[in-house]
């Protein structure tokens, strides 16, 4: 195919490299188009930029496998991938870089080796560990991060890390994050420019946490098969098998829970407890299919290519996708929030019932769409209200748990909420309702 590479300014050592293989891609890298930024420069500079860029892929699962393939076929040559998981048989319906013989092996290592084998010239470096095991010095080496995670917690952690790393004096410190997520036939892709556009935390209330079933419902008045399963999971296991760590991947453990739940359901005339439902509830299984992963992962990779090369404008900044009924996408600018606890600089208002005890307030933080914190510690100016750690402080502040909020915090007063899962505390102004 015809290219005009020889006419543009070329870097001498590139002259002899045969780019025939990349003919299709080079069409959009070697010249601009009617929608590209008129200032942008195309040609070998862009090609060497994409080839030398270090790019980090977080997650080597359903989205990760697709993203690695896509980035390798978008001209990236120095890709890194981090994932702590090993391959399970239930991954094989979509994580197409893995085979039955790979079950039990590291996802990051398997995926990296496969794509390296298939696409000549790409280098993929795997890290078989948690994202939290790596620090700022690790993350600062990348130009861009593409994440295909299945956990809100991990997304919040990496988001807070990359926002925190931005140094206004050093443009290199700003690493764009491209994040994808799927559930069934639905998904979303977003582009985050930390401190510049809405960050993951600004958008947290897009993911309303599933309402936890009250413990008393599980213990005394179950009505749904899920209630019986949760009872077996939370209460019966503790009672009968204390000391054995529950492994939801162990069929014996799941069978035990299933039978306990079934017996309880029969006792209350509840129908619908099955093995599959038991598994779904205790492992919090989200349906996942190859096609949706392909769509969202390719959207993320397309944005990565556009951001790194300027070959067309990138998405601003959020796309929702639904394939349940026809195909529907909604692409919009999600506004940055000034009172975002991670990237904003204002404390955020929080409506609270003054009669709530501190203990109930802390519990409610895990359910509120805007906070979703599991083990938070609470401080106000000059005073710790409740600290989870260290043990001595926990003991000192424990009596406060029984006190009403109105006894501890004035209306309009600011509190700081810290959680082990996040690197920075959240600030809220308490408003009594």
């Amino acid at each position: 195919m015809e290219t005009d590479s020889m006419n543009s300014t070329t870097i001498p050592e590139r002259m002899n490299i045969d780019r025939t293989r990349w003919s299709y891609l080079d069409c959009v890298l070697k010249k601009g188009g009617p929608f590209t930024d008129p200032e942008a420069v195309f040609g070998d500079g862009v090609i060497s930029r994409i080839e030398s860029a270090k790019i980090l892929v977080i997650g080597a699962g359903g989205l990760g496998c697709e993203i690695l393939k896509n980035l390798a076929l978008s001209g990236f040559k120095d890709i890194h991938v981090i994932d702590m998981d090993t391959i399970d048989v239930s991954n094989l319906n979509r994580q197409f870089l893995f085979r039955e013989s790979d079950v039990g092996k590291s996802k990051a290592e398997c995926a990296a080796a496969f794509v390296e084998r298939r696409v000549k010239g790409v280098k993929i470096t795997p890290y078989n560990c948690k994202i939290q095991d790596k620090d700022e010095s690790f993350y600062s080496q990348f130009s861009l991060v593409v994440s295909g995670l299945d956990s809100i917690e991990a997304r919040r952690w990496i988001n807070a890390m990359l926002v925190d790393m931005v140094d206004a004096e050093d443009p290199e410190s700003l690493k764009p994050i491209i994040d994808g997520g799927t559930e069934g036939f639905k998904g979303q892709a977003r582009v985050i420019l930390p401190t510049i556009s809405a960050c993951y935390e600004c958008q947290l209330d897009m993911h309303v946490p599933r309402q936890a079933v009250p413990l008393c419902t599980l213990a005394t008045i179950p009505r749904q098969p899920q209630h019986c399963i949760e009872w077996a999971h939370i209460i019966a296991w503790e009672e009968h098998r204390k000391g054995t760590v529950l492994d939801t991947d162990d069929p014996e453990h799941v069978t035990w829970l299933y039978q306990k739940a079934l017996t309880r359901a029969e006792e209350f005339n509840i129908i619908g407890v099955t093995y599959s439902l038991t598994q779904g509830v205790v492992k919090n299984i989200i349906p996942a299919i190859a096609s949706t992963n392909a769509i969202i992962a390719a959207s993320c990779s397309n944005e990565a290519l556009k951001i790194m090369t300027g070959c067309n404008p990138f998405m601003d900044n959020y796309m929702q996708y639904s394939g349940d009924s026809g195909i529907y996408t909604y692409t919009f600018n999600f506004a940055k929030k000034d009172d975002c606890p991670v990237c904003g600089n204002l404390a955020r208002d929080m409506q609270v019932n003054p009669k709530l005890t501190l203990e109930d307030f802390i519990a409610s933080l895990s359910e509120r769409a805007e906070s979703q914190l599991k083990k938070p510690s609470i401080r106000k100016a000059g005073k710790s209200l409740y600290m989870q750690f260290p043990a001595s402080l926990e003991e000192q502040t424990r009596p406060n748990l029984m006190k009403k909020m109105s006894e501890l915090v004035e209306d309009g007063e600011e509190i700081a909420v810290a959680d082990a899962a996040l690197s920075i505390p959240f600030r809220y102004i308490i408003r009594y309702s």
């Binding site: 293989r21 076929l73 319906n93 085979r99 069929p251 959207s299 349940d324 195909i327 529907y328």
Partner: protein, 565 residues
């Protein structure tokens, strides 16, 4: 001799190996959907760089689609290796269909795959297409006549056909469904599926509510806080009517009624309120609506095949007819019978749930006997399975009928006639009212221009087996696209300013297409392959709702739009 009685239950009554592997998808389309997928045979008629079709197959092989066949005349060249993941170094010089087939089959040992190295024209001329469940045709086919021929054959066979373009940052997917494509299992969102009949309670429900709430005021705090909200609303509706001449107006009384209910919640208890009353207030808006017959279903009832079903009619039509009889008699749909979870004692909830279930069963029985009578009248000997009738009744409000339309391959020749021009102008000039961005319809017009230019290039060099190379070598390629686009706008009476703006935008899209080679970009083909695979799965399982009928994707704006053409 009897075997010894086991003291502990067996451990492995868990899922089979296949259920384990497909667990995450079985939770979406179930064993029935999976069965349909496994017995299907997908035909891919590949052309161009051929990535979008192969990426589609990847997403179909993984979930266990039974069989696929790739028809592709191409031989693997160096350019393929930079854009197609299902080829490797050693594939160079070999049949592209064969190599893709081999590497796709590695993904799932349960799937069978075949390849045929022929031109599409040659293959279509000599093959029986009726053996395939669904056909995917990848543009540019080169000869628009061949594309039209495939469309005609599929139409005559009542076989679903998907026609796709993936060019640079753009893609287009058209779905040609048979003229009548009914779907029962549409998977509506759970909140929209509730039909509780609070404003039209059947006598058993009303009687039950009365006995359960007769002494409501005298209940202990514990009991008072555990009355299911359905019973609370029924109770206060009766009270309301007592003081309002026996009437409750959905339009005017809702707000005051909610306040009325709220005023009865106890606040002097330990919790300072009652959860069941809170639930009642939240649910009131949605629950206090008169049950209606949705418009989709209404139009179904007017279909000729519903009104006069034949001996050879699909089961679907007999059931619709039976439901139509049910509606005529009761002015209501069969009750779905599901009850959402709500604060209450276990036994009260279960009792309420079984009341709804019983009523639902009763309605299903009535519809079933209507079906049986109809079967008898039509002299049909194989009865429709009970489970099929029951599933239909439970989802009656959400069943859908899509009237498939024939593909438009070349709108200037056959397609955009005088009748459709207004619609086309609207599609072309209407801004996206949410984003304020231009319509995506011009992308489709530009892609038609691209087809026409490719066809012209192919007719100049019929011997070339790489149409794209031929096209890019042709200096007048953009002029060919431009001529076509201007012809289309000429047909659209381009005196309006909006249309002129749209024409300029369309020409820019053509420039962008020209800039891209015109070839495929892996990301756009992979994304489009994902969307096509979703459509294929929805069509084959007859679950969820497929696109009707033309989808455009813009990888620059990261946006899509669906048009009915």
């Amino acid at each position: 001799m009897a075997p010894p009685i086991a003291t502990t239950p067996p451990v492995l009554q868990g899922p089979s190996a296949k259920e384990k592997k497909y667990d995450r998808q079985l939770r979406l389309w179930g064993a029935n959907g999976q069965q349909a997928l496994e017995s299907s045979h997908i035909l891919l008629l590949n052309s161009g760089a051929g990535v979008v079709g192969v990426e589609t197959l990847k997403n179909l092989v993984l979930p266990g689609t039974g069989t696929f066949t790739i028809v592709d005349e191409a031989v693997v060249c160096e350019e393929d290796l930079g854009v197609n993941f299902f080829l490797e170094q050693s594939s160079l010089g070999k049949s592209r269909g064969e190599e893709c087939c081999r590497l796709l089959l590695e993904l799932n040992p349960e799937v069978k795959g075949f390849h045929i190295q022929k031109t599409i024209a040659d293959f279509v001329k000599r093959s029986d297409l009726s053996q395939y469940t669904l056909i995917i045709l990848v543009a540019p086919v080169g000869s628009l006549d061949v594309a039209s021929e495939v469309s005609q054959i599929a139409w005559d066979l009542r076989q679903p056909l998907i026609y796709v373009h993936s060019v640079g940052f753009y893609s287009h997917t058209s779905v040609q469904l048979p003229p009548s494509f009914p779907i029962v299992d549409t998977h509506p969102d759970p909140p929209s599926t509730q039909d509780l009949r609070l404003l039209q309670p059947w006598s058993e429900l009303l009687a039950y509510a009365k006995t359960q709430t007769a002494d409501l005021e005298a209940f202990s705090d514990h009991d008072h806080g555990h009355v299911p909200w359905i019973l609370l609303l029924l109770h206060y509706l009766e009270k309301w009517k007592e003081s309002h001449n026996g009437e409750f107006s959905v339009r005017d009384d809702k707000k005051a009624f909610r306040e009325f209910v709220g005023s009865h919640a106890r606040t002097d208890n330990a919790e300072g309120g009652e959860e069941n009353y809170d639930e009642a207030l939240t649910a009131a808006n949605r629950a206090l609506t008169l049950p209606t017959i949705p418009s989709d279903l209404k139009s179904l009832l007017l279909e000729e095949e519903c009104q006069i079903p034949r001996n050879s009619s699909a089961n679907f039509w007999l059931i619709v007819n039976a439901i139509s009889t049910f509606i005529k008699k009761h002015s209501l749909l069969p009750l779905p019978g599901t009850v959402p979870d709500m604060k209450s004692q276990s036994k009260d909830y279960i009792a309420l749930q079984s009341l709804y279930r019983q009523k639902s069963q009763q309605d299903i029985s009535e519809v079933t006997s209507n079906v049986r009578a109809l079967e008898h009248a039509l002299n049909r000997h194989i009865p429709i399975p009970d489970a099929e009738i029951s599933a239909f009744c439970k989802n009656a409000a959400f069943v859908k009928l899509i009237h498939g339309r024939k593909l438009i391959i070349n709108p200037l020749k056959h397609g955009w006639n005088d009748n459709s021009i207004t619609t086309i102008i609207e599609h072309t000039t209407t801004m996206n009212f949410v984003s304020g961005k231009p319509s995506l319809f011009p992308i489709l017009i530009a892609l038609y221009g691209f087809d026409s230019a490719i066809a012209a290039a192919a007719s100049v060099r019929p011997e070339s087996n790489n149409l794209l190379a031929a096209a890019s070598a042709s200096p007048g390629f953009f002029t060919l696209m431009e001529t076509y686009i201007r012809d289309v706008f000429g047909k659209l009476d381009s005196t309006s300013e909006d249309l002129d703006e749209a024409l300029q935008h369309t020409l820019n899209i053509a420039r962008e297409i020209q800039r891209s080679g015109p070839g495929e970009l892996h990301n756009i083909s992979s994304l489009t392959g994902g969307m096509i695979a979703q459509e294929v799965i929805k069509i084959i399982t007859k679950q969820y709702v497929p696109v009707d009928n033309c989808l455009v994707f813009d990888g620059i704006e990261s946006a899509s739009a669906v048009y009915r053409l």
